[in-house]
Structures are given as C-alpha cells and as structure tokens.
Amino acid sequence: MAKEYEDIPGTFVFDADRSREGYHLNMFCISLRLAENREAFKADPEAYMALYPMTDAQRQAVRDRAWNGMLELGGNIYYTAKLAANDGITFQELAAKMTGMASEEYRDMMVKGGRSIEGNRSKIEWENK
C-alpha cells in the first residue's frame, strides 16, 4: 500500500505496520501507567523489561531513552510518553527532546506561535535546508 504520508518530514505515522512492530514496546510503555509497575521497573529495569518480548533494538532504545528511536521502531508517542512520565519528564519536555531543542527554547517557540508549517510540509524541503 502506498504511504504518501512517509513524505512528511520529522514524523513517524503510527500505522498498522508500526503498530505490529511496536506492539510489545508499546505494551511495556503503557504498563508504566500503573504505580505498582513503575515500582517494579525501578527496582529491576532489566527484569521488568524481560516480561515484554521486545526486540534487542527496542530494549536498547528504552535503555538509551532514544525517544525518536523508539518511534522509529514502532513506538507510539502516547505510549512512550508513559516512559517519559515515569522518568519525571513532562510531555512538553519530551517534545523538546525529540526536536533536539532545549526545553526553554522549545517553550519559547510554542509561546511565539509554534513551529511554522512553511518549510515543514515535505521531506524535500528539509533536504534542501
């Protein structure tokens, strides 16, 4: 199936393929919604991660807190945000990390009206930057 949305820059559309690939990663992340699971993860991260049959690359992305890497490996932002929350990171701080900006810089950008659509519609625009 043609995926025209793959042309959108800086974006991982969470489609059925990514959902399939990311299933166990996402189930691991969402489990951290509950306090008892957060405690178990904190007590022994490797043992807790072992409960979820993720790929080695996914496990490593979790260890590295590679926020964009997790999305590339099938993670979805609403799931990975639970891992961020577990680490005490707010949604806006997480967004800043994914864009490579400092939290203050990102917050200022939002207060000034956010990231403009101009120059951000298509991958070709990013390649020509």
Partner: protein, 280 residues
Amino acid sequence: MAYVKAGVGCSHVPAIGVAMDTGITEQPYWQPVFKGFEKSRQWMKDNKPDVIFLVYNDHCTAFSAEVIPTFALGCAAEFQPADEGWGPRPVPVVKGHQKLASHIAQSVILDEFDLTIMNKMEVDHGLTVPLSVMFGDVEDEWPCPVIPLAVNVVQYPAPTGNRCYQLGKAVRRAIDSYEEDINVMVFGTGGMSHQLQAQRAGLINPEFDKRFLDLLTEDPVAGSQITHLEYMREAGSEGIELVMWHVMRGALNEKVEEVHRHYHVPASNTAVGHVILENR
C-alpha cells in the same frame, strides 16, 4: 421527542485540565486560554443540556494496543476518570445515560455503523477536559449525564472525515427517534493543529485551523472531505483528531450559526480551538 439544538467543538489538551486542577488558570500563560471560555460557561447555563453526547479519543488509557475499536459507545451507568500515570483527575465520576445510549447503539448499528459497545470503560482527559472547560469547576457531580463516543485516532487510519460526518447524521436520527423530551447537546473534541512526536513536534498551523472552523460552519460537506494526508501534513500528526468534530457537525442541522469562536496558541504543544454552533 429528544432533540439537538446545538453543538460544541473543543480541544481537550491535558495541560488545560492540569491548570484547572492546580488552580493556575489566572497565570499569564493560561489566562488567555480560559478567557475564551467565559462566554461558553454562561452559554452552558443558559442552554443547559439534559444529556451530552461527547465524541473524544482515548489516549491509550481505556484501550491499550490490545484492543483498538474505531468507534466505541459508552453504555455504562458511570465512567470513572482514569489514572493516566499521575493519579486520576480530581473530578466527579461521569454518569452515563444508559437508556438513551442503548437506544443510540441499536439505532446506529441498524443504520449500518458497526459500533463497539462499552459496558465498562474508564475515561481520560479527552473526555473530562472539555467538560471542565465548558462547565467550569464543579463540586460533587457534573451538571448532566454524558454518553461518550471514543474514536480511534491514535493508530492510522482513523475513520475518514466523511465517515465521521455520516455517523453524526446517524446519531442525530437516533436522537430524533428517542421518545423522551430531552435536550441532547453534542460535543466534538480534540485538535486543533498539533504534533507531539519526533523532530517536527510543535507544529502549529493557524491558517489551516481557521479554514477548518470556517468550513465546519459554512460548508460541512467540504470540510468532511479533508483527507488524512492533509490533516497530518498541514495540521500535524495529532491534528488528525479534528475528524471527531465532523461527528458533532453531522449531528447538527445543515444550517448552523456560529455563536462563539475562540482560538489561542499555545496550550502546551497545541493550538486551542473552540466553537459553539446553534441549529438554524
């Protein structure tokens, strides 16, 4: 018979709920967000609904990756505010309206919309934040029962704008055929432009948002034809939540009057949009 007089479109940014729950709505950052809802709260008092039919999306709270229903109708007696990882919001339990919900389920499914029926479901900020901004702070209970309709917009593809618009029409037919004489208000929530993920996070597109709101009132059929690609490209990957507003619009008359509009950037990562539409 039951009737629909008006619809509400409203963002459901979680940080708006947090601002209300922690009492910081007067801070300079939040003041302009809430200022735009002052008129709405008065309007809610003047046009008090007997029931709210509220279209929203769950954010992997009630539904994990295990189960992803495209349309899930809340038919339970009540819906507990969920713990999304920071403890449940300090807001009342949401009471359902089981008799009307089961009537809508039966009518809409025979109308060929294959809903999932939820007899037990927790509700997250997607549902409670619009209630909070429209009603203001409430004490022990919400002013009226609520029928939730959860729409999948997390895993691509969400239902199309047209499908949502047509579902809204089916919901309206169901409400119109319910024998009790009650005022049902319809909420479409989510949006507006925003992207929460990856390197393009923070995207905001006020021109798109304005055009969306204009079409919603003036040419809903054209609005319902906006493609998924256009939402994701122009309004950000999470801007696709806007399809849910078409369910609300479909439940209204062809002709509506926009009696209130509010638009502000930002609330956290998101453009806040809000309209009140009355049937004409």
